[in-house]
């Protein structure tokens, strides 16, 4: 097989030459439309997903997509995180739970909005997974390009099949100083095949991040165009709109307080 035939289709640019010169699509959202993507990040072999989440948010904003970090049941922040405190929307689990109440859902109609919400929560608690995952549109697995990394990802995907939305899109980012793109591609292809065969999951490879601890170097090889597309299968839950409205209100209060 020729090398060019082995290229992975990670984004539109790899699907067709028509998209080669096209920048990140920003006109997929029309005024009056509700466009909200909820994203969770899983880093099974790392202590915290926070550096990755912050870098992801920055990249999305630079690409023209409003993105918020939603922290649920917050843990103590580090000094660095304190500096970026203004970028974080905090919710207690009680607040998050209240947004899902049927009475609140009924009181709200369709609204317009455009945003990516990136969730930061303790995934070690089954209860948290059970509450948050059903609302997610994207779930990013950031793992080192090793067999251990994909096994841990697989185990989590397998063990949460019963709670995720049927339209959830699984994404993979290889994180670490591999530098061997050929190896990463083989690893992704084989992992993707196993996922498809055993769990019926279609996996999207977003690329590689050399080191997400260093936000400046993060994302050199990431393709986030996938996040800018409107999916017909996207979750149109009232839960999400309630959440969106709540966060918009919360942000308004914060800004008026600061001013």
């Amino acid at each position: 097989m020729a090398p060019e035939e082995r290229r992975l289709k990670r984004g539109l640019g790899d699907v067709s030459r028509l998209f080669k010169e096209k920048p990140i699509p920003q006109n997929e959202w029309a005024v009056g439309e509700f466009f909200l993507k909820c994203v969770a990040v899983h880093r099974p072999l790392s202590s915290s997903a926070r550096p990755f989440i912050l870098a992801l948010r920055r990249m999305l904003i630079e690409g023209g997509m409003p993105a918020e970090l939603v922290r649920i049941g917050g843990n103590p922040l580090t000094a660095h995180q304190q500096e970026t405190r203004g970028d974080i929307q905090d919710l207690t689990w009680e607040e998050f739970e209240s947004l899902n109440r049927p009475s609140l859902r009924k009181s709200r109609g369709l609204n317009e909005g455009k945003q990516v919400l990136i969730f930061d929560f303790d995934e070690g608690e089954p209860e948290h997974l059970k509450r948050v995952l059903p609302l997610m549109d994207r779930w990013i697995f950031a793992v080192p390009p090793t067999v251990d990394g994909i096994i841990e990802s697989y185990r989590m995907m397998k063990g949460t099949r019963g709670v995720v939305s049927s339209s959830l899109q699984y994404c993979l980012v290889f994180e670490g100083p591999s530098g061997d793109q050929g190896l990463e591609e083989v690893l992704f292809e084989k992992f993707s095949a196993v996922l498809s065969q055993r769990l019926g999951i279609h996996l999207v490879w977003l690329g590689s991040a050399a080191n997400s601890e260093d936000a400046c170097r993060f994302g050199d090889r990431l393709d986030l165009s996938h996040f800018f597309l409107r999916d017909t299968s996207e979750i149109d839950a009232f839960d999400k709109q309630s959440l969106f409205e709540h966060l918009r209100l919360l942000k308004g209060v914060q800004e008026s307080f600061l001013s």
């Binding site: 090398p3 082995r6 099974p44 089954p126 997974l129 059970k130 995952l133 067999v147 251990d148 994909i150 096994i151 841990e152 697989y154 185990r155 989590m156 397998k158 063990g159 949460t160 099949r161 019963g162 709670v163 061997d180 793109q181 050929g182 190896l183 591609e185 083989v186 690893l187 084989k190 992992f191 196993v194 065969q197 055993r198």
Partner: protein, 208 residues
């Protein structure tokens, strides 16, 4: 970490024993990091494919007497994978089950250890798992067989270790308690094949 104590009930979850075995290999014999989490059980045996910085290994824990069919299944499986190791499997760990202590692991005149030790470049490490009458579980380092012809193991004293066991619980698919799930036999073999492919690539160098 769980430590078996006198009076503890024997348990069906053998992952604890795997953890103990990995720790034993790492701490007391090989001094190598051991990859976690590739193990499964079926009706009569429990095996673990693992990887260290030096290479792959396979451990087997037999839960039933060494009937011919079990031995044959081991041999067939080894032969199935042996072509993937052109330089030979790095080492093979064999753990007889509790009730095998007083029985020879043999079919005819050949023991299982003999069989594997005859294979080229295979180091065979055999442990005997012992459960004492008061319920304490320990692993005894019975013998070490290397590629070269082994010394008489009886001449060598057998160090013993009390095994601390524990590790990540493998919650099965369960909506009420979502989280990492255990791998089944097919999935283990899928990932093992991937590991081998990567190892071959690293030996050969980049493909592209």
């Amino acid at each position: 970490m769980k430590i078996f104590k006198p009076g503890d009930e024997p348990q069906d979850d053998w992952s604890d024993l795997h953890d103990g075995l990995r720790q034993l290999i790492r701490d007391h014999y090989l001094g190598l990091p051991v990859m976690r989490g590739m193990s499964f059980e079926d009706d009569y045996e429990n095996r673990f494919w693992g990887e260290t910085s030096e290479g792959f290994y396979c451990s087997r824990i037999l839960k039933s007497p060494p009937i011919y069919e079990v031995w044959e299944s081991l041999r067939r499986e080894f032969e199935k994978f042996s072509h993937l190791f052109p330089e030979g499997l790095d080492f093979f760990v064999f753990v007889p089950a509790l009730d095998l202590r007083s029985r020879p692991i043999s079919v005819g005149d050949e023991t299982l250890c003999d069989f594997f030790s005859r294979l080229k470049s295979v180091r065979v490490i055999s442990f005997q798992r012992v459960r004492t009458l008061d319920g304490e579980i320990a692993l005894s380092f019975e013998e070490v067989l290397k590629t070269e012809k082994r010394e008489d193991p009886i001449e060598n004293p057998l160090p013993s270790f009390v095994v601390e066991t524990g590790g990540v619980s493998d919650s099965r698919f369960d909506v009420s308690s979502p989280g990492p799930a255990a791998l089944n036999k097919q999935e283990i073999e899928d990932f093992f094949e991937i590991a081998l492919e990567l190892k071959r690539m690293q030996v050969r160098g980049p493909l592209f």
